[in-house]
Symmetry: C2
Subunit: 150 residues, 2 copies
């Protein structure tokens, strides 16, 4: 029923180093038990928590905030509103990131479109002029708002 650190590493995708580090950082919901000789013993539910943890991490929640959440949870009932608002704040943060990425995507696709069009028409050599020699040409036109970067 109990899992070794190696098994947990394999199931969670985290390294054994990272698991020990997470423990030291107080990121486990429940204290990690030990065998008589000092080896760590984990539960299935630790793996489940690590899966959530990993999602929070990969969406940009810092270990410090995860610890905060864990500490609230460990205190037991009475602070559910705090935990909820922590989650809601992160939800907002994730939405912001998605919005930001979509903006980036628009820029990238715009540039991809320019290259595709130009390559089709065989005009690629006009896409980039690294010298500062033609300010007149550069100023005023706006068919490529990132001229210097096309």
């Amino acid at each position: 029923m109990d899992l070794t650190i190696g098994e947990v590493a394999e199931r969670s995708g985290l390294s054994v180093h990272a698991l020990r580090f997470y423990e030291k950082e107080g990121l486990f919901a429940n204290p990690v038990r030990r065998t008589a000789t000092g080896r760590r013993l984990y539960h299935e539910e630790d793996v489940e928590w690590l899966a959530v943890c990993t999602k929070l991490r990969s969406s940009g929640m810092s270990l410090a905030v995860i610890r905060q959440y864990v500490e609230l949870a460990r205190q037991g009932s009475g602070n559910e509103k705090e935990r909820l608002s922590l989650l809601r704040a992160h939800e907002e943060h994730v939405l912001d990131q998605i919005r930001e990425l979509n903006e980036c995507l628009a820029v990238i696709r715009y540039k991809v479109g320019i290259y595709e069009g130009a390559l089709e028409r065989g005009e690629a050599n006009e896409l980039w002029n690294p010298s500062h020699a033609e300010p007149a040409e550069l100023a005023g036109t706006d068919e490529d708002c990132h001229r210097a970067a096309a």
Copy 2:
């Protein structure tokens, strides 16, 4: 017509330190000119490139890859396909990030939903049991697939 480093910092949102660092890292499309006394002089188009640069950075393109792109561009025409495939690879990377964030969002919203429901019904105290004392209760039920983390 020319801009000082301070002006570029203000317009681009990057610090003067970062601008000098970017230059040292070879991230400018065109060489940064200097006054007779050694002060940097920038062009409007440098600011435009920095705007693109910032989008690439904030969508996770490393400075190393940006430099690669810049180097291709500086070489002049003939490598447009390489530049295009670099952009397309990044586009894919951004799409992956968005997909990942959406998965994270689903997890967060699931947990937010649990808290909201429980708080409404005043059942918050059952949301978290930090002890390992009730394995029987924990095993088998699946109404919260992240029990240890609710």
